[in-house]
Symmetry: C2
Subunit: 268 residues, 2 copies
């Protein structure tokens, strides 16, 4: 039972997964933001958060989960309700802070209005992987070396608030994720001319940045990631146990098996 839960829904497979697991939850969508929820949704607007808070309270909602990708919507101040007009100065400041700062601001808004902000991984723990090798294929020692190099690089980058992912292959760095996301990184890697690569068989390493708020911005992999890993000529993936979401986990694992990749979740 989750009559006190609202799912604030963006695009992708995660909101439907949550809605299935919590059939009594209130599903909120936002004007201008894609979503893939079947029926049963209530549409709101980022320009009228005051109204959203009032509706959530009326319905007895105490917990909210933000799920799915929500690119910054274009806000038209003419449509702001009283609440949004009141917080406009702080919003202006938050908009300068980058995505992490803006998310932090949104979380604080909800919390200061008495809501608890949950992470999808707290509501659906089975969406994250336990430590271990999740595939029949096992990484070889050269893959472990690439994973170590990738993790070391991501550790360094994390302090600069950049990069959830990198690809290493036989000791070479083939790419670093920036704001275009993991799939764009993998397509870029796949276009690397073969004379620049030392054979194939690299590894995608994906991990949260240090200080990343896993409640609202958790790294994810899913079937599309696996297809791009395969298309890029890589041998497998290394993720953090408990800190990276597996979207559509059954299909994700099935594709890993079908392509003969490895998938390892590591306790960090």
């Amino acid at each position: 039972m989750a009559l006190d839960l609202a799912i604030l829904s963006g695009a992708g497979a995660l909101p439907p997964d949550l809605a299935r697991a919590y059939p009594d939850a209130l599903c909120i969508t936002f004007t201008g933001i894609n979503h893939s929820l079947p029926g049963r949704t209530e549409d709101h607007s980022f320009e009228r958060l005051g109204k959203l808070f009032a509706v959530l309270k009326e319905r007895g909602i105490r917990r909210v989960v933000m799920a799915g990708s929500m690119y910054r919507p274009a806000l038209n101040p003419e449509n702001f309700d009283a609440f949004m007009r009141q917080i406009s100065p702080q919003l202006v400041a938050a908009l300068q802070l980058g995505d992490d700062g803006l998310l932090r601001f949104v979380i604080d808004l909800f919390e200061s209005h008495g809501f608890t902000v949950c992470g999808a991984h707290e509501l659906l723990p089975e969406l994250t992987a336990k430590a271990g090798i999740l595939s029949q294929v096992v990484p070889q020692s050269k893959h472990h070396e690439d994973i170590e190099k990738g993790r070391a690089l991501l550790g360094v980058l994390s302090d600069a608030d950049i990069g959830q992912s990198t690809v290493f292959e036989n000791g070479l760095c083939l790419g670093i994720e920036t704001l275009q996301g993991t799939d764009a990184l993998l397509r870029f890697v796949g276009q690397t001319p073969s004379y620049l690569r030392r054979g194939q068989g690299g590894v995608l390493i994906k991990t949260p940045k240090s200080g990343q708020d896993l409640r609202v911005d958790m790294p994810t992999i899913g079937p599309d990631t696996i297809r791009e890993v395969q298309a890029a000529g890589l041998a497998g993936l290394a993720i953090d146990a408990g800190r990276v979401l597996l979207l559509e986990p059954e299909q994700t694992r099935a594709l890993v098996a079908q392509f003969g990749l490895f998938l390892i979740a590591q306790e960090i």
Copy 2:
């Protein structure tokens, strides 16, 4: 006069620039490596470096400059001369070390045979930029902020031996160069969906890695770089004074002017 100089020529505009400035230099090309030198070249093979050293000494060559891009040629040990057979064990070790290690090994080989390895920038100082703004258009304060962020990131990455270049735009990192090179980075940046960018007007920041041997592996920009910067929707470029080569400097500057970009060389 440079009767004691040999230009070891790879692809690109730099070998012809050097050949024009040093018309008496001996131009060496390599089987399987593209070059754009008109006439007057002598072809050698990486598989017969013993023969190359003998020829260079016969001709009175004392200085060599490696210029242009030379991707790793496929070496066939069956074609090795006695010298190459002798150094094979060390070559095997060097090949594991990555490009920087391999270059270091090649430099040591030449030096241990009595040659001086020069940098193209030492022979053609006018190919590097003096500190200052090399364009009519001047970077604005937001561009200086992006340049500072980019330099800070490259400083961090340098210790991991990654990245000569990065693109920042209004505080966001749009890409980091890996082994695919600067043009590939810029094409990737240009494909970034506009909803992920905060407007246009970013900066390409390019600088040597710490410890990079500028004699054989100096960062370069040229007309193609400027075209890609323009195509990616950026506002300009920031490079190091004296430590980044400007290929075809006149055409490079003309394109900077034509596209209304800025180009700043900074004393580091």
